[in-house]
C-alpha cells in the first residue's frame, strides 16, 4: 500500500506541474482527493491492514494528501496571479486621455463680492435686510433728510416713474424702512445689499444700474471711532491686512459728520503712483454719523440714540479688488468674463 500511495503522489504531483489550467487542476483535485478519488479508494483498503501498519500507512496517506493539496493550492494561486496580471495588463488604459467633463457653473463676480461682504458683517453681528427697487420719493429722499429742492438731490439724478415713485438711487431707503420697523425702540446692526439706478450714460466708469451695499448701526452712544474701527476691519478683511484706511470729511444729507473713506494704494502703499493718481489713496466708500433728523423721522430719539452708516458701490469694490477696468463688463455677461471669476 505504501507503494501505491507513493505512486499516487508522484503521479499527481507530476500532473500538477504540467497543468496550466485552473479547471484541470480542480479536476485533478477530484481525481485524487475526491470522495471517489484514487487516494480515497486506496485508503478504503486500510481495514485490511494490521493494527501496527494502520497508523503508519495512515500517516503516509495524510502526508500524500497534504503534499497534493499544497501543490494544488500553490499552483492554483500561481495561475490565478498570472491570470490577474494578464487581466490587469489587458485592462491598462491611457490615463492621460481627458475625463468625462462635468459642467462647472459659478456665481457672478458681483454676487460673490456681495456674499463676501455679507458674511464679513454677519460675523460682526449684522443682519441682512432687503427692500424694494421701486421706491417712493419719501423713502428715497425725504426720510433721508433730502426734501424737495434740496441741492444734494442733484448729486443723484433719478429715474422717476411718477412724481411719487422712482427707481431707488441708493439702498439707503432700506435704512429708513428698517428703523421704522423697529419703532425707535431697538438697537440694531444691519447691512442692505441691492440694485440701484441713476441717470448715467453707460461708459467705462458709469452704469445706469449698479449694486450698492450699505450698513447701519443704531444704538445708544455710538461713536465715530466705532465707524472708523469697523471700516478698518472691513477694509483689511476685504483687501488685505497690509492696507490702511483714511477718513476724509465729506457731505451726505443723511449723515453728519460725513466721511469719505480711502484705502491705501496696494501698489505704492501710500507713497503715490499711477494707480492712485499720485495720492497714495483710493476712494472706496462714504459714510458718517446718522443725521439726527433721519433718526427722528424714523422714530428714534436722537437724544438717546446715535448711529453710523456707510455705503459702497459693489462694482467699485470688485473693480479695485479684481482689477476690472470697465464697469460694463459686469452686465454684458460675456461667458469668458464670467468664467474668469466663477471661483471667486
Amino acid at each position: 500500500m505504501k507503494e501505491q500511495l507513493e505512486a499516487i503522489r508522484s503521479e499527481a504531483l507530476d500532473k500538477i506541474v504540467q497543468v496550466e489550467d485552473i479547471k484541470v487542476l480542480q479536476e485533478i483535485r477530484v481525481t485524487y482527493l475526491g470522495k471517489k478519488g484514487s487516494l480515497t479508494s486506496v485508503l478504503k483498503g486500510m481495514g485490511k491492514l494490521s493494527k501496527e501498519e494502520r497508523p503508519v500507512i495512515g500517516e503516509i496517506a495524510n502526508k500524500v494528501r497534504d503534499a497534493i493539496t499544497t501543490a494544488l493550492n500553490e499552483k492554483i494561486q500561481k495561475l490565478e496571479e498570472a491570470a490577474l496580471e494578464k487581466q490587469l495588463n489587458q485592462e491598462t488604459i491611457d490615463v492621460t486621455l481627458p475625463g468625462r467633463p462635468v459642467n462647472v457653473g459659478g456665481a457672478h463676480l458681483l454676487t460673490s463680492i456681495v456674499e463676501e461682504i455679507e458674511d464679513l458683517f454677519i460675523g460682526m453681528g449684522y443682519e441682512v435686510r432687503e427692500g424694494p427697487e421701486v421706491e417712493t420719493d419719501y423713502y428715497n429722499f425725504e426720510a433721508l433728510n433730502l426734501p424737495q429742492n434740496h441741492p444734494a438731490r442733484d448729486m443723484q439724478d433719478t429715474f422717476y416713474i411718477t412724481n411719487e415713485l422712482l427707481l431707488r438711487t441708493h439702498t439707503s431707503p432700506v435704512q429708513a424702512r428698517t428703523m421704522l420697523e423697529y419703532k425707535g425702540e431697538k438697537p440694531f446692526k444691519m447691512i442692505c445689499p441691492g440694485k440701484v439706478y441713476r441717470r448715467d450714460t453707460d461708459d467705462a466708469t458709469h452704469s445706469h444700474q449698479f449694486r450698492q451695499i450699505e450698513g447701519l448701526y443704531v444704538d445708544e452712544n455710538v461713536r465715530m471711532s466705532d465707524l472708523k474701527g469697523t471700516l478698518d476691519k472691513f477694509a483689511k478683511k476685504m483687501f488685505g491686512e497690509d492696507r490702511n484706511i483714511r477718513l476724509r470729511p465729506s457731505f451726505f444729507p443723511f449723515t453728519e459728520p460725513s466721511v469719505e473713506m480711502d484705502i491705501s494704494c496696494k501698489v505704492c502703499h501710500g507713497e503715490g503712483c499711477n494707480v492712485c493718481k499720485g495720492t497714495g489713496w483710493i476712494e472706496i466708500l462714504g459714510g458718517g454719523m446718522v443725521h439726527p433728523k433721519v433718526l427722528e423721522m424714523a422714530g428714534y430719539d436722537p437724544k438717546v440714540y446715535s448711529g453710523f452708516a456707510f455705503g459702497m458701490g459693489t462694482e467699485r469694490i470688485a473693480m479695485l479688488k479684481y482689477g476690472v477696468s470697465d464697469i460694463r463688463a459686469f452686465y454684458t455677461n460675456d461667458v469668458r468674463f464670467l468664467k474668469q471669476f466663477h471661483q471667486a
Binding site: 427707481l167 444729507p253 455677461n333 461667458v335
Partner: protein, 808 residues
Amino acid sequence: MLVSYNWLKKYVDLGEITPEELADKITKSGIEVESVDFFAEKSTNVVVGYVASCEKHPDADKLNLCQVDVGEETLQIICGAPNVRQGQKVAVAKPGAKLPGGMKIKKVKLRGVESNGMICSLQELGVDEKYIPTDIATGIFVFPEDTPVGESVIPYLNLDDAILELDILANRADAMSMLGVAYEVGAILGKDIHFPDESVTVEETMAEEHISVEVDAPDLNPYYGAFVIKDVEIKASPLWMRNALIAAGIRPINNVVDITNYVLLEYGQPLHAFDYDRFNSDKIVVRRADAGEKIITLDEQERTLDEEMLVITNGKEATAIAGVMGGANTEVIDETKNVLLEAAYFDGGSIRKTVKATGLRSESSSRYEKGIDPNRVKKAGMRACHLLQKYANGKVLSGVVKFDKLDRSEKSVEVNVGKINGRLGTEISAEEIAKILHRLKFNFEQSNDTFTVTVPTRRGDISIFEDMLEEVARIYGYDQLPYTLPAGSNQAGGLTVRQTLKRKVKQYMENVGLMETLTYSLTNEANVQRLVSPEIQALQPVPVSLHMPMSEDHKYLRLSILPEMLRSLSYNTARNQSDLAYYELGAVFVSDEEKLTKQPSEQLRLVSALTGKWVEHPWQQEMKEVDFYVVKGILEGLFHFLELPVSFNRGKVDGMHPGRTATLAIDGKTVGFVGQLHPSLAKELDLKETYVFDVNIDAVFAAFEDIPQYSDIPKYPSVSRDIAFILDQEVLSGDVKQVIEEVGSPLVKHVQIFDVYQGENVEEGKKSIAYRLLYQDPNKTLKDEEVEASYKHIVEMVNSKFNAYVRS
C-alpha cells in the same frame, strides 16, 4: 471751483507750503481737491521786450523785421504776427529759450534775414486757447506799457501759478469764493486772512436820483441793491485781473465785465452790470415772469419764461433772468458810459428751478443755487465799485438803492466738550476746542465745558450740534480719531430663511453647471412684452415705464428676465461662444395699474437659458446638445433638492415652441414655465436651439417648509414591478404616471419611466411606455398577493382611462 494758488496768496500767507501740500491738507480737512494743475508748463528764457522798431521784411510781405530791446541787448527778430507794432511791450523768447511743448528757440535765417528769437503769443507760452481774449486770439500778447523790460514774463503772465480744482459738495457753498477758500485754508493752517479793499470815494449825487428799486416777489428776492457808476471808460482790465480770471477758467472781456466776474469769484456774490442808458428806465422792478414772456439773453438766444421764474425788468420788459443770465439789450458794450450794478440775494430754490427749466447754468446761478452769504451782498457791490473807480475811472454815485427784507441774523449753536468726545470717541480738551473755534474764526462764549458758538452767515450749512461736531472733528483731524468697535452690540447677525434659501438655490444652480448672469432691469418695448410667464400674464400686467427714459432701450421695468438674458446669449454666440448655460435670480416688476399709484409688486424669479452643447466628450463618442429634458432635469433636480412636489403640464407661452413648453405648478398653482424658445424668435435673436425656464421663486419659497422633519428609514424590503403600456401617441406619460401613483397608493412608493418606444412591433399612432413601480410597506414585508392585486388594479385603471393595453 478752480482756485489759483497765486491769487489765494493775496488773502492768506501760504509761507513755504507747496500747492501739492496745500491740496493734501485741504482734502484731508473737508474739501476734496480733485487735481493740482500747473498753469503752464515751465518756459525758460522768455522776457519782456520793447519793440524799438518794426518794418516789413524786405522779401516777405507777411513778415515783420523787428528790433527788440530785451534789456541787456537788442535782438533782431522776424515776427509773423499781424498785430506786432513799434512801441509794444512783448514776450520775447531769446535764443536758447525752451517753450511748453518742447519747442527750442535758436538763431535762424528767414528769407535771408537773421532772426534771433521769437515774439510769443499766449498759446505759445502754454495758456489754454479758450481763455485767450478774442482780440489777441490770432496774435502776440502785448503787455501794459509800464511793464519792465528784460524781466522774465512768468510772473507777469502768472505762468507759475498752480490751479487747485476743488470739488465743492452741496453743503460747502461758502467755499465757492476765494474768500471762502481763504477762510478754509486759514483754519487749516491757523493763519489770519487779509480782506480786500472796499473803500470808495463817492460823488455827491445820490444814486437814488437815477434809479429806484421795487421788488414784487420778496420771498424770492429779499434783497436787491443797485449802484450807479457814471462815466466809465471801457477798456481791458489790468493784467493781474485778467491773469486771475484766466486762472479761474473765465475769459477776460472788458474791465466792467471782468470786475463783476472778479468780485463774483472773490466774494462768491454774483453781480450784474447793466448799461444804464440801454436799461432805459429809472425804475428796476423785480417780479415773477409772465407765462410765455420772452427775453433774448446775453448768448443771443430767445428764452421763453414762466411764472416760476424771477425777472429783473425796467418796469416794462424783462432785462435779465434773475441770478441766471442778463439780457442782450442791456449788456455792457464798448460804448457803455454809465453802469447800473446789481448786487442781490435771490432764493436758491427758485434759481434751481429756473436753471432746470432753461438749461442755463452759470457761475452766478450755481452760487445762488447753493446759497450765498447774506452779509456779503452789499460788501461785494462796494468792492466792485472800488474796482470800477480804480480801473474804469467810474464815478460812483452816493448810496445803494435797495429793497431790503433780508435776514442777516447769525445762528448760535451750543456744544459741550463731553458730548463732542462722547460722539467722536475722542478726548479733546476744552482748550483745544477753543483753539479750533478761533481757527475757524467763529465767535463763541465759553462757560466751563460748554461753548455757545455764533455761526457766521457765510457758513449757512451749520445750524445744529452735529454740524459743529463735524467742524471740530475735521479741524482736529479725522486721522486722529481712534479705532474702536461698537461696545453695545448684542445682536446675533445672520441671514433670514429666505436669504439662506436664495443662497442654496444659487448654489444648486451653480453646482449643476450654470453660470450666473446679471442683466439690466430696464428694457425696451419689444422685450417687456416677451416671454412673460403665464401666471403673470393672467394678472394682465401693465409694463411700468420711466417718466423720462434716457434711451428707448432702457425704458420699461422688466416683466421677465429672459429677454435681456437672451440678449447676453446673442452677444456671446456672435463672438463664437456657443455653448451657454446661464441663470439669474432677480426681480420683475408687476403692476396692473394703467397709471401707477403704488409700488409694483417685485417678484423674485429664477430664470435660465441654455443653448449649444451640454455634454461634450468626443473621444468616447459622447455628445449631447441641450434639449428640453436637460432643462427640465435641472428644474426637477432643484425641486428634488428642495423636497417640493412640482407638476409639469403642457402649456402655451408666447415666444415659446408650442409643442415643447410646459408650465410648472405647485399645489395646482402655476409658478412658471420651461421649454424651447420658439424657433422664429430664436432666429430673430440669431440663436440656435435655445431652452429656457422662468420660475417664481418667491412662490417656491412660500411652499417650502424650513425645518424638514425626520421620517423613518424603511425596514422592510421593497418589491419592484415593470409594466409597459401601449398608448395612443397623444397620451402624456405624466398623466399615466399620475394614475399609477393614485391607484397604487399607498403601497406604490415610486414610479419611474424606464423606456419609451415607437417603431417596429408598435402600431402606427401608438407608443409604448414602460414604468417601473416600487412597492413598499413601512410596517411589514409585502406579500406577493398584495402586489399582484395592486398591479392588476393599476392595469385595469390605466387601460380603461387611456384606452391602453399592456404590451406583452
